[in-house]
Symmetry: C3
């Protein structure tokens, strides 16, 4: 998430009332989680296991819960609860703004695009040319949609990331300040959900076609010309490369890559990264031809032993 | 389901035109299925296998299809079709009332709660303080929602129980007169469905967080601070205790208990009750470490034998 | 799909500017894919593998990409891209017509039917008597619904078929000009999707009851008095015969038949046709009693060998 203008550390520290040290001349340009952080960004870290990663990242400002040496050209903000303070800042800079009407006045809708009745379009949404958005679709604030996109009824684009911190008293919600980008020529079926990035982007690549009841988690990037069948669930922070095919009811766990042109057969479960150009089956998946051989062998073996 | 005032057996018998005997002084306070029946309630039984259970239950009035001895302080209503007569009574006392507008005049909505456009709120719904109900949500009549609850778009709370009696000519629908209660601090993702109880309550406990496309069946009780990932399906009359975690696409069959703190890994199927405090995997589930060992052994064995 | 009146080959050839030969007196009555084609219809074929099937089918007119001998009483249209030309014709004769309001003026709604708020009803939809259509349902153009049908919130009837042709530059969408028919006494739960036929019909038979989050693909025929539990996914061109029961999260692949009275247990995957009157389990499915024996034997064997 980028800020509307550069901020000084004084301005930030006032908001969260925090102690800081390091290069106080830094211009603060954004807020981002560690895995998508860029130069000029604030990030946070609250576990010693990740201190080093955060301090060596592209982040210019690190909110941290222990006094550490400040790296060159960076700035440290000390906090007893970095998650709370980071969350407070993102809420402050990107608050939830209630809608005044079904289609926001601030939405920009391209020429030739048809918005059917009952569809909600949030603040600052951008939709390109010659799209059809069918009835009862929901597009949350700030979502960006390209040209020639078709979205079927009941689909929800840009709902919050499923991202919580466990506290002794219960789960603490991370405010989702990221976004969703749908590229040109994408078709999305009915009753799909594509969650926004936590602070980054969830993206559906050009020409990809999705059927119904599909879940795409936060910060997941789907490549170009993919085919995704009904009831597929993809968790957060997944990278699906171009020309991948996922058949019905496939489940994909978080934080992994599915290589270019891979085909995953129905009901399979993908627990870790898989190479492109191959066909997969099973839960957990393996190469389909291996899996089929195993199934056939086991059938033969059971018959032999059991009878 | 409770009635609006106590009724006499005369009033009830007139509605369904039935013969009755036993303690005719009983004040009738509600109607409930056998598994949630309370003192003062009418229940029904139409299979000899369950006669004894019904007669020994807390029900004050039993609609039954055979002349039996009436227990002390109870009342028997004779019927050639107890399902039909019980169903007729629940429809009579809790009829479906068509909505006049998108948000019912009889709904009570707490201070600070934001209702986004396109959201339907039925008759007598109660929503607490500081909730966000996103666009195009549907909340059926009588649903009760606590404070600080977030519900994302496309979600449907309080649709009818999936409960039918097989007749020679087809399925006969049981009228759903139960309800849904969502406690404080719950978050429900997009395109979820939480069905109402048949005559009792479906409940989501305080602090529980649910992702998208989740099905919660009628009369299921989800405990506090549970985490439920996308596309999980939980059937009816299930008890999920506190702090349970269900990962993506897990399926849970009806009428069982998942013990406190249990973790069920993605795509698993739970066909019977499982103890708390353990990690499970597979369809049908077993303890994850056992399942993993089995998978590894089979792989080794197949390799050895097959090559 | 049938046309509004008979067309001559001159009229058709002018639209797509094509060369033709054969029986030019043919009256053209409709457009249909090869698997549902009838006398008087135009169909298309673009792969030599299917030439013979198309030429011997009931079609009166075949759009084809190679000069072939024209069978008696038929007509050949030559095209360098039959998919493109067929698609062009279906779009021309059944274009997408944007809605003017939430309930189309051209929709016919029977006596006693209740349409709750937020529900979209497209052009030329027909709904019978005594139905309840709950809030925020979407019914696309031309869908036909019988009497005593209940449809719960969030459900989408008649969205486009998931049907694309792979081109070097990406997927080319087949225009869906088919329809959906819901027969009498059907109940459809919340957040279900029933896609329209590509050119034919998707049908839900009389008395069938469906729970929530169910996907029914294009041109699939579901028989009478079936029971379909939550999160079941059925692909396109499937035939489910009468009295079939599919339990939760079952997946059914395209182009197969499930025989009368078959019961498929939860989370099973059906990759090819299965006989009626039996109980099935597993992914891929086999008879449940066989599958259970296999699971038990493997457990015993692993225990014996592994310890």
């Amino acid at each position: 998430m980028k800020l509307d203008r550069p901020y000084s550390i004084n301005e930030i520290a006032e908001i969260i009332n925090a102690e800081y040290y390091g290069d106080t001349s830094i211009q603060i340009l954004g807020l981002n989680e560690i895995h998508v952080v860029e130069n000029g960004d604030i990030t946070f870290v609250d576990h010693p296991k990740y201190y080093d990663k955060a301090l060596k990242s592209n982040a210019s400002v690190i909110i941290i819960n222990q006094k550490v040496e400040c790296p060159l050209n960076k700035l440290i903000i000390l906090s007893d609860d970095p998650f709370r303070d980071y969350n407070f800042l993102t809420r402050k800079f990107k608050p939830f703004v209630p809608a005044k009407q079904m289609i926001s006045e601030t939405a920009k809708i391209g020429e030739g695009t048809i918005i059917q009745p009952g569809t909600f379009i949030g603040n600052n949404v951008k939709i390109g040319k010659n799209c059809i958005i069918h009835p009862n679709v929901t597009i949350y604030d700030n979502v960006i949609i390209g040209n020639n996109v078709i979205i079927h009824s009941g689909t929800v684009i840009g709902a919050d990331a499923f991202y919580f911190k466990r506290r002794p008293e219960g789960y603490d919600k991370m405010h989702s300040c990221g976004n969703v980008i749908i590229e040109d020529d994408v078709e999305i079926g009915a009753c799909c959900t594509i969650d926004r990035g936590v602070s980054g982007i969830t993206k559906i690549g050009r020409g990809t076609k999705m059927n119904n009841h599909i879940q795409i988690g936060h910060d997941t990037i789907v490549g170009k010309n993919c085919l995704i069948a009904s009831q597929v669930g993809v968790a957060g922070v997944v990278k699906i490369e171009d020309n991948v095919i996922l058949w019905g009811q496939v489940g994909v766990q978080k934080d992994l890559t599915i290589g270019k042109g891979a085909i995953v057969l129905g009901q399979s479960g993908v627990p870790k990264s898989i190479e492109g150009g191959k066909v997969y089956f099973g839960s957990p998946v393996q190469e389909a031809k291996e899996k089929m051989k195993e199934i056939a062998f086991l059938k033969w073996f059971i018959k032999k032993e059991h009878n």
